[in-house]
């Protein structure tokens, strides 16, 4: 029952609406709408073309320019950084070369001094050795002579003690021969 009433009302409502007609087709309001539309469009056109669009366009262009400039500056700084790095590496390489040169020179100097000192020491050692040898030879000769003298004397005494005739020359010859033998 209630539903039926509602449906009837819906039908009535629809009939009423179509009876009123579409406001869109009410030609008496057309001049009004057209007039105000034209006013609106003219106002919007002038606001946009005189104020808003040039301003927004210039802001966009300015931003684009700023970004381009910033990118260029960044590129430039990057190049500078690369150059600085290269200069640093170059300086490092040349410093290393310089250092090794200095090290080599110092080494050569030290070597020269060392060679000189060694040569001098060698010479001194050789001189000392020669002197010592000479002295040893002298001592040896002295010792040999003393041994011969002692041997001769001993032999002479022995011969005398044994009751022999001591002939100096014979004894000496015999000792010499014995010593040689």
């Amino acid at each position: 029952m209630t539903t039926e009433t509602t449906v009837t009302e819906v039908a009535h409502g629809a009939a009423e609406a179509s009876g009123a007609g579409m406001p869109q087709l009410d030609f008496s309001t057309f001049p009004n709408q057209i007039f105000w539309l034209l006013v609106t469009l003219v106002v919007i056109y002038f606001v946009l073309s005189r104020v808003a669009l040039p301003r927004i366009g210039s802001v966009l262009a300015e931003r684009k320019g700023t970004i381009t400039n910033d990118l260029a500056a960044a590129e430039e700084l990057k190049q500078k950084a690369v150059g600085a790095e290269k200069a640093y590496n170059d300086a490092l390489v040349s410093a290393r070369a310089e250092a090794s040169k200095i090290v080599a020179a110092a080494k050569a100097d030290i070597q020269k001094d060392l060679d000189k000192a060694l040569a001098k020491a060698d010479a001194e050692i050789a001189a000392k050795a020669a002197e010592s040898e000479k002295r040893i030879a002298e001592i040896r000769a002295g010792a040999m002579e003393a041994v011969t003298e002692v041997a001769k004397d001993t032999a002479k005494e022995l011969v005398t003690a044994l009751g022999g005739q001591t002939d100096a020359r014979t004894v000496t010859a015999a000792v010499t021969a014995a010593l040689k033998g």
């Binding site: 009535h12 409502g13 009423e16 579409m22 001049p31 007039f35 034209l38 006013v39 919007i44 927004i56």
Partner: protein, 266 residues
């Protein structure tokens, strides 16, 4: 006959205490803002008010929004810049580089339609673009403009738009007739598409809205009311989309017509 039906409905409503009120087209009525009387061409009406609000919205976003000329834009300035970039790219892509001269005109069309459509979605508002009088002036106005522009720029060569030089010779006159007809239909479809879409969407929303209070009158309302509220929500979301898309479609078609006027060769 109709009057009788209306009276019956009123009586019915009075008997029930409250009835469903179906006035889906009332929202399109043009009324005086002040006082009583006929609507003259100069009378301030609700259409005047909502067109003025569209102008105010455009001024707020595009003039006050960009006031700072900030290199890093504020939110409002971003909206203006995005709209600028969007429409400028559209004009340049479709109408070519020499079409960019007409960018302020295209922008005016786009922003007027977009802001009128969007403001029209506020509850209780009036939508100027739902009226064929408004869209017809937009459509036919632009049509006359591009036609005059085409003849001014290209002279008689503009007629080459209708003469398919790469079609077989016998077919060319027939194609020319079709092309001429389709050319003159352009402003009609251009304007009716906009008004029709906006009007239909708003009317459907109103119909669902009229079903919403059914729960107060009958048991079937326990089903109908939630469904109609959900439907209003869904249609509203759709209408937000339509408000933008119709502005976009109107604008891009304007760009295409502008392109035909500037470069009539196929």
């Amino acid at each position: 006959m109709t009057d009788v039906a209306t009276e019956e409905a009123v009586e019915h409503g009075a008997e029930q205490g409250a009835g469903l009120a179906f006035h889906p087209l009332d929202q399109f009525k043009i009324t005086r803002l002040f006082g009583e009387g006929p609507i003259e061409w100069y009378t301030p009406t609700n259409a005047t008010l909502w067109m003025a609000l569209a102008v105010v919205a455009i001024i707020v976003i595009f003039v006050f929004g960009s006031k700072g000329r900030a290199l890093i834009p504020s939110r409002l300035q971003s909206i203006g810049e995005m709209a600028y970039g969007f429409v400028y790219k559209m004009v340049e892509d479709v109408a070519g580089h020499d079409g960019a001269k007409f960018f302020p005109l295209i922008m005016t069309l786009f922003l007027f339609i977009l802001s009128a459509n969007m403001l029209g979605l506020l509850p209780g508002s009036f939508t100027p673009t739902s009226h064929i009088a408004v869209t017809a002036i937009l459509g036919f106005g632009f049509f006359i403009f591009v036609t005059l522009l085409g003849f001014a720029k290209n002279g008689a060569h503009f007629l080459g738009l209708f003469w398919m030089s790469d079609a077989p010779l016998i077919l060319r006159p027939i194609i020319a007739v079709i092309e001429v007809i389709s050319y003159f239909v352009r402003p009609v479809s251009h304007s009716i598409r906009l008004a029709g879409n906006i009007m239909a969407g708003h009317a459907v929303m109103k119909v669902f809205a009229a079903f919403a209070p059914l729960v107060l009158m009958s048991a079937i309302g326990y089903v109908v009311t939630p469904v109609s509220i959900l439907a209003i929500t869904a249609i509203y979301a759709l209408e937000v989309l339509v408000a933008f898309i119709q502005a976009y479609v109107f604008t891009i078609l304007a760009c295409v017509y502008l392109k035909d006027a500037l470069h009539p060769g196929h």
